[in-house]
Structure formats: C-alpha cells, structure tokens
Symmetry: C2
Subunit: 326 residues, 2 copies
C-alpha cells in the first residue's frame, strides 16, 4: 500500500482520499493543516492518520507520496520542500502559478529522482481515451469548450470580500480554476496550440471572473469559455470534416454523440468512472508502484503545455499574479 | 402598394419577394439580372414583372424601393446608382464591404432624401423585442452566440473552386455571411461593444471559413463563433446576475428559456413569424409608407455599429477584401 500524506483539508482533499481508497493501492497516512483541530476533524473518519500543524514534521513522516491541495499559490514552496526531503508529489490543479515555477519543480524532481504529478482529473477518464481513439482517423476543423459555473464564493465576492479563488495573491481567477480543464482537454486531444488568446472580465482584484478565449492550431481554432459568475448549460463540441462530436462537457464526460455531415448519428458508449477522481488515482498508483518515470514525464509534458498556454492567455488578458513578480 | 424592384435572382431574393407579398404592402414590379432568361425564369410565377439585363434601364423604372441581393461586393455601386436616380434602397446583409462604403451611402441617401435599409432579418423578429424587454431589468454578465452551418458551397471549395462566399473579391467569408447575424443580435440587445477581436481560420483566398471572436463590453464579453465548414448544434446563451437565458439560436429564435440562479425556470412564449423575412418586410413597408426617416436612422445606427464591429474583427484577423484597397 502506498502511504499518502495530504496537505489541506478542503472537499477536494477528502474526495481525493476517497478515490485513492477505492483503488485499494493507497492508504491515507498523514494530514497537514495550519490548525491541529482542523486536521483532527478532517481525519476523524479514518484510522491511524498522523495529524500535523508543523509542515516540516509532516514532511519527516514515512510517506510514498504527498498530495497538495492547499491554495494554488502555496503549492510551489510546499512541493519544493517535499521533493527536497525525497517525497513523490501530487499537486491539485493548477499545479503552480506560472510555467517558471513548474519548470523549476520538474528540474528539481528530475535531479532528486522524484515522481511529480499535477492532479488534472479529466484526461485520466476512460472517456477521454475513447474519444481520442474516435477522433484518430478524423480531421479536426474546430472545437468549442465551455465550463462556467456560478461559484459558491460569489456571494462573498459580492459582499466585498476577496475569496482565494478571486485573489491574485493566491493565483486565482477562473482560467486557473475551471479553464485549466478545458486546456487539458484540448491539449490531450489536439496537442499544444501554436498560440492562445483570452479576453477576460477582470475583477478589481486583478484576476478574471469570466472570459472568452481561443486556442490557435494551424488549421482550426478552439473556443474556450469559463466563468464563475454565471452558469452555462452549453455542451462542448468537436468539429471534424466528417461531422460534429457533441459532449455534455469536457471537465467530465458522460454522453458523447457524433452527428455526421449527412445527418447520421453515432452514440459513443461511455462507462461512468467509479468516482470522479478514481481514474487518475489508479494511474498515479500504477506509476508510483512501477516507478514509471517515462509515464510520469508524458503527463508532465501535458502539464507543461497547459501551463504555457494558460500563461500566454493570462498575459494577453493582462492578468498578473503576485507569484509572477518574484 | 409599394412597387419593388429586385436585383439578383438567388433564393434569398425569392424569399424576400414572398415575404413582401405576404405583407400585402409590396408588389414585385421589376427584376434585374445579368441574363434576361434568368430574370424571366425567376419571375415566371408572378404577373406584370418587368425584366431587365441592363441596370440603367432597370433603374429608370417607376419603383418605390429597390432590393439588392447581388454578391456582397456589388451592393455599393448598385446602391449608389439607385440612390442617385432617386430610389429607396434595401440591401441584403452584409450591406457593404466595409464601414467607409456604408458611410458614403448613408451620406448620399441623406442628401437625396432617400430611405436606406440593410436587410438584417433577425432583429426585426418579435422575439428579439420580447427578449430585449425580458432583459431590461437584468444586469448582463456575458453571452455566447454561435452560428455555424456546413455551407452548400463547401464541396466546390474542396474541389478547388472559389465560390463568391469564400472570395475576398466578393467580400466573402463567414463573419460577413453568418457572423453578421450574431453581431446584430449583440448590438440590438447590448449596444455597441467597446472593442472586438476575431481569431479566424483563414483560407488561401484570404477570407475566413470559421472563427472564434469576442465582443468587449465594459462588464462582460460576448463570445461569437461562426463557421461554414462544420455544423454546430450549440444553443446561444445570455448570462445575467439573475440567471441564464437559453435561446435555440440568435439568427432566428423559436425557443427561449430562463434558468434562474436558484434553479427555477421561466419559459418565454414566442410566436413564430409568418415567414422568416415577414417581420422585416412589415417594418420596411411601414417606414417606406410613412417616409419615417427617424425610424430608418435608428436601424441605420445598428447597421453602422455592426459594420464597424465587423471591420474591427476582420482587421484583428488580418482579413482584407479587395474593396478595402480602393
């Protein structure tokens, strides 16, 4: 069993622990929180979990991998510290604030023989591979990806507060939060775009609450729309010379239907994952168990392309994080 | 009855004649085509239609309005000639190749006391006003408009031919063809955008076969997607602080549903127009009959904003028409 240490006590951290438990490859062994009582409450459902409010003590624990689900802007220092003491690292997406931080971590991980993962859930879903296979013999002519969801943090923002999600100090904004899923989908299916552009609605804080972007490939464009201040019910679509593939979303896919140019229809049969994070947890377990650096580097290559594309988009929209100024 | 002269013999010309007949305010009186036999065939279903293959002879006819449905790039010279001999003019959309041409025509029409119209069908639909009323007490936070339809001219394009629709000599491209409907919808509901941007897939001919754009308003963005090389089945959406309005399209609207932030739903009852061009034909008849220059100028103001926005988008995508070089 892989001993898992967890940084952060949010719902996503709990969800990741549940998914890793389902794989029967991981055991939740330690948790770090700034407050010991939060750590205690978080691990109350589990047995033999060490609780820490001192990060260096947490790092000194015997662990096979550390999962970091703290606010985005903290991932970098925490991942660096974990790698330096020899732990494999999984960071929640977005892994870091910008491509420079990612490059530094990947170099360090390489030097120290450490496996590093960005927990970008969606591309590990079996549906993503089924769709990649379906598209293999087709010529792409465009795509339209949306992920817009009214955020639970909107009321606080409207009250004049500044939740981490909307704070440039914490590398927030909707492109970083939801847009990343759209970039992972595009890059997984179509490769790295030549260029990218983002027109964002920028909050007084300096980060985006919504935006419309496009990814430039040689022969086609991918529309990228994300928002935290409204709900979109739009499906996502992939266009080909043969017809249109309609997906109910690209953050998670449960239905996929192809309508050919001649009007004929094909339904792609998809199996729902056991748990939304199960497929990625299985993948990480496999790579960690086999010390499969080649497979890890393949995933890192997606992470690099996403980070570079996201950064290009942010720059075109004039969004600067505090971490960019370091 | 308003005597209508028609330039061009395409399906849209026939459709416009049918709609004007339904209003019982117009009578189809004359047709111009480069070929007399085409003009004869085109008007075979009607009585007392004069047929011309000489444009100056056509213009010398007694008419209350001329409807121009020739290829886009010919509208300017034909409209100019018609105004100079004292005819009111309706041009099929897009009225002209660029804003300079529109400005020149509007100035000339003003000097000569001529009513000028761009036949942008959609904003005359009653549904557009119903939706404008529905939005009146709401704060817009974004919108997403799509009009992508596999063109009947694609096979010719793929065979290596260059149909007018894809020819910069004829001021073609998809933004000019289908995108204009999206711009009319946005400008009718939200006003003129501060800025606009377009990432286009540019054909070897120099015009766009598809594109992803955005309109920049102070507090929100409108995503604009159009294409001629694939079909999109995406509805269009308007986002507000109260919830999301889902429309089956903005080129023509037959269903409108609002989903509030709390999940409650409102269906907006829409009545289908008698004919897709009926509502605009009624409007034009009214303005022509009453010589209502104020109402015409209000429509011209939309036309100007659309032309300027479309031109900005084309420039950002590096699309240059032959007409722009004059």
């Amino acid at each position: 069993m892989l001993k898992l240490g967890v940084v952060g006590t949010s719902w996503i951290a709990r969800s990741f622990i549940d998914a890793t438990s389902l794989t029967e490859k991981f055991t939740f062994s330690a948790v770090y929180s700034r407050h010991l009582d939060t750590a205690a409450k978080f691990s109350a459902d589990f047995e033999n979990v060490q609780q820490f409010d001192q990060f260096d003590q947490f790092l000194a624990t015997d662990l096979d991998a550390i999962y970091i689900a703290s606010p985005n802007a903290l991932h970098f220092e925490q991942a660096k510290a974990a790698i330096l003491v020899g732990h494999n690292v999984i960071t929640e997406k977005p892994a870091f604030s910008n491509p420079s931080e990612l490059t530094e971590i990947l170099q360090l991980a390489d030097e120290k023989n450490i496996l590093f993962f960005e927990a970008a859930r969606n591309i590990h879903e079996q549906s993503f591979t089924l769709i990649k296979d379906f598209l293999a013999d087709k010529t792409i002519t465009g795509a339209d990806f949306t992920y817009s969801k009214y955020s639970s943090k909107m009321p606080a923002l409207l009250r004049g507060e500044l939740p981490n999600k909307f704070n440039p100090k914490f590398s927030g904004g909707l492109l970083a939060d939801l847009g990343v899923y759209l970039l992972y989908a595009a890059i997984f299916w179509f490769g790295k775009p030549q260029d990218a552009h983002y027109d964002a609605v920028v909050l007084p804080s300096g980060v985006d609450v919504s935006g419309v972007g496009s990814l430039d490939y040689t022969d086609f464009k991918v529309a990228i729309k994300c928002a935290g201040n409204f709900n979109s019910y739009l499906p996502s679509e992939i266009y080909t010379t043969d017809g249109t593939l309609i997906l109910d979303g690209v953050n998670a896919i449960s239905t996929a239907k192809f309508i050919a140019v001649d009007g004929s229809k094909i339904k792609i049969e998809l199996t729902a994952p056991k748990h939304s994070l199960y497929d990625e947890a299985v993948k990480f377990a496999e790579i960690l168990t086999n010390k499969d650096f080649e497979a890890a580097r393949k995933l890192q290559s997606f992470a690099k392309d996403v980070a570079n594309t996201s950064y290009k988009m942010r720059q075109s929209a004039g969004i600067i994080f505090d971490a960019d100024k370091k």
